[in-house]
């Protein structure tokens, strides 16, 4: 108890004196995230991160850097313009009904054999080709895209690292400043977020929040929100037999059973959900083309 109290007081003092991203990130890297100390540090770090807003331009710059790293790691977009346009139409229809409808969103299907989807700050969202093997209709695709939109809308990735604050701290980011100290901080932030988004995954509460936001967005747009639960149930079955989980939704997201249970509870708040759209034919038409 004394140890925890000491740690908390130290963190509060340090945050007020240094407000240093590197300080928090360094401590986070040496303390087990599941330990009591790790959770306190993560919470304090998130509180501090959430206390300052990052402007959209900086957010977008971090996101585009991360998008480049994502393309390098997971592969380039599937060469099928009609499929890409189709996914962008579904995604933009959802984004207009999200909690952050006034920024531009872009979507791409990547030629990756790993079942995954991820969003980078600012509104670029990727879905892997492999994930389409699990999906059966447009409402299911909508659930996956809306989950990722939920992360962008709530700025989950940015709230997960203090480094992002440091980029903005020294004035607006410009092409010229990317070459200097600011560029180093941008690279550090993108590197830090890469590990979080592609390997470790975001905080599980953020995932639950994105799930519930997805259901609301899907419902408000007019798709059946139960379709998202169906996707997670199919992934749950796949997880049981999957040997390689690296980089997939299995490795970067909280246990599917818990997510499904929470979503089923939320579904009860939409009494007319089963009358909402599934759209099978159009989905099959575009997805078979891939």
């Amino acid at each position: 108890m004394k140890k925890l109290l000491f740690l908390t007081v130290t963190l509060v003092l340090c945050s007020s004196v240094f407000a240093s991203a590197d300080f928090f990130d360094t401590i986070q890297s040496v303390v087990s995230p599941d330990s009591k100390e790790g959770k306190i540090i993560a919470g304090a770090s998130q509180m501090l991160a959430g206390s300052k807003d990052i402007d959209y331009k900086t957010e977008r710059t971090i996101g585009e850097g991360l998008a480049l790293e994502g393309l390098t790691r997971f592969g380039n977009p599937v060469k099928n313009d009609q499929l890409q346009q189709y996914v962008n139409l579904v995604g933009n229809a959802l984004a207009a009904n999200s909690k952050r409808p006034t920024i531009p969103y872009s979507f791409a299907v990547l030629d990756s054999p790993v079942q995954n989807a991820f969003a980078v700050p600012g509104g670029v969202i990727f879905v892997s080709r492999a994930l389409f093997t699990v999906l059966e209709n447009e409402a299911e695709l909508a659930g996956v895209l809306a989950h990722e939109i939920g992360h962008v809308a709530a700025k989950h990735a940015l709230k997960s690292t203090q480094r992002a604050q440091m980029i903005q701290g020294a004035g607006a980011i410009t092409a010229a400043s990317v070459g200097g100290e600011k560029g180093k901080k941008l690279a550090d932030t993108v590197g830090n977020l890469q590990t979080m988004l592609f390997d470790k995954g975001l905080d599980k509460d953020m995932e639950f929040e994105a799930d519930l936001a997805a259901m609301e967005t899907v419902y408000r747009t007019g798709y059946d929100p139960a379709a998202f639960i169906k996707v997670l149930e199919k992934l749950q079955k796949l997880e049981a037999t999957s040997k390689d989980k690296n980089g997939s939704w299995f490795s970067t997201h909280p246990p599917l059973a818990e997510r499904i249970a929470r979503l089923k509870a939320k579904l009860a708040t939409y009494p007319d959900y089963s009358t909402q759209a599934h759209v099978d034919g159009r989905f099959q038409k575009y997805v078979k083309m891939k």
């Binding site: 009904n97 531009p104 560029g183 690279a187």
Partner: protein
Amino acid sequence: MRLMRGLPMGIKMGMCAVVLLCASIACAEEKRWVASDGTSLKVEASATSENVVDLLVGTEVSVVETGGRWVKVRTEAGATGWVYAGRLAETRPSAEVAGTDDPLFGESMKKSQITTAKADSARSIRGLSPETVSYAKSRGTSETCKKSLEKILGRKVSAMDVRSFLKEGKIGEYAQNTGRGK
């Protein structure tokens, strides 16, 4: 108050009760906020009905009547019409969302109330920002990846494209009685 002088106490109390009742009805009027981009006030409860006025995200409206998935509302400016229920929220969107936080088109959209079509054209001029080009250079990112991201960011999806897409799929405000889409 002078007008009420000389009136019997019972009538005075009755008049006060009527005033209080009217005030309570006005206060009880349900409020909603526009939560979706590209929302229009419609003459009738139908997506294909004529537009009365376009409503920006964050606009406060008062509920006049509900009819299934459509809500009849009145704006603060006094315009009345129908809005699809999915486009309204029971709580006010955050100031950031309502004001739109994209400097490329947000402020102009907020201040001049420009049309969705103009906002769309602003969205479509996106490509790699100079900062991203510098970042890619410093990281030695391949030309293929840079071109891929440029193509992703440059893809055009207008509000009209989205409306046509929803209409074709019979989704949301375009749903028929079955609501299942095709």
